[in-house]
Symmetry: C2
Subunit: 208 residues, 2 copies
């Protein structure tokens, strides 16, 4: 069975849980607590030298890291990824936007909040917030004339961007003025098979 | 003709120049000086609301941003990207690694050096350097048993990682102990059609 090395509060991990659930693919789940250093062990380092979650492992031993690369590979050949080359390029554009211009601000500030790291990062918090709001404004602009991020239908680009946007408030981001983003969040939530970031999906297994 | 909105010192832009040169695709080039704020204009904002370079524009008006998404789209159907789904997944894994765990450290510190921003970032420099060296160590480990990053041959994963690794010294990174990375840099440089980051490729045009 497919195995996901997972941390339940991570939006990057949630992306994979959400897609697997919507694909109806059974999986087992190893929970590693980042805050307790459980990804900084020799055992996990042997699985992923970059010691990041999520990591997906197949029964034959193949492993893949980087949440958006995992989404792409799992979605290939399904309705969650288009066949048209130009739409596929746009999927990647939005996923790289997510990892470079969105996650490092919106996800990182949220992490500081729940890990108790806000005070020690107080000096750089305003810039992080400003850049997070900029990412939200880019999304808001795009959603002026688009119901979803690519091709007018729900794809892995929406999953990638939903993961941390829908919990941006946990990092102190106010979505009030981003009405199109909020409407789009609702459309994502209404997709068949949607699960929440807090839903305990997959079969929890102990490791190592 | 394909148009690249470009800044010549940017490794992200260089990736696109390098691939286009190796593909033998003619292109015109609009040079925008980031340091002079030339990407922060209403004209460029209309092209890319995330106001980042590189940006590629086709004669029919389609535009694509995010360097690694551009590489993927331009390389599709060529020898620079494999057909095998598992190898393609690994290409994406390394490109997301590059944008999340490599570029924000190695490229950003280099930028601070040539933009005169080292002093004002002195407090966070050690962590940036440490994370940059970690990225180099992940690459060094992988190259212990691999001549290139994916599938034993030169692909866009190598182009993506080469862009800022080969100028890491300009950010104060010492590659002396990364012998496999240095050997791989040499293999990339020896590929047919290789151009340097300083080579004036493409036809320079004025804009707007």
């Amino acid at each position: 069975m497919l195995r996901l090395y997972d941390y339940w509060e991570s939006g990057n991990c949630y992306k994979v849980r959400l897609l697997l659930s919507q694909l109806g693919v059974p999986f087992e789940r190893v929970h590693l607590d980042i805050l307790k250093g459980e990804t900084r062990t020799p055992e996990f380092f042997a699985k992923n030298p970059n010691h990041r979650l999520p990591l997906v492992e197949w029964p034959d031993g193949r492993r893949l890291s980087e949440s958006d690369a995992i989404l792409w590979h799992l979605a290939e050949g399904t309705s969650f990824i288009p066949q048209d080359p130009w739409e596929r390029a746009q999927i990647l554009q939005w996923m790289f936007f997510e990892q470079y211009s969105h996650e490092p601000y919106i996800a990182v500030v949220r992490f500081w909040h729940f890990a108790g790291l806000v005070d020690q990062n107080r000096a750089i918090l305003p810039e992080k917030m400003e850049r997070g709001y900029h990412a939200l404004s880019v999304m808001e602009d795009h959603l002026e004339s688009n119901s979803c991020f690519v091709g007018g239908r729900y794809t892995i680009a929406d999953i990638a961007l939903y993961a941390y946007t829908h919990v941006a408030d946990e990092g102190g981001f106010d979505l009030t003025k981003f009405s199109r983003v909020r409407d789009w969040l609702g459309r994502v939530r209404s997709q068949p098979g949607h699960v929440k970031i807090t839903d305990q999906v997959g079969r929890l297994v102990s490791w190592p």
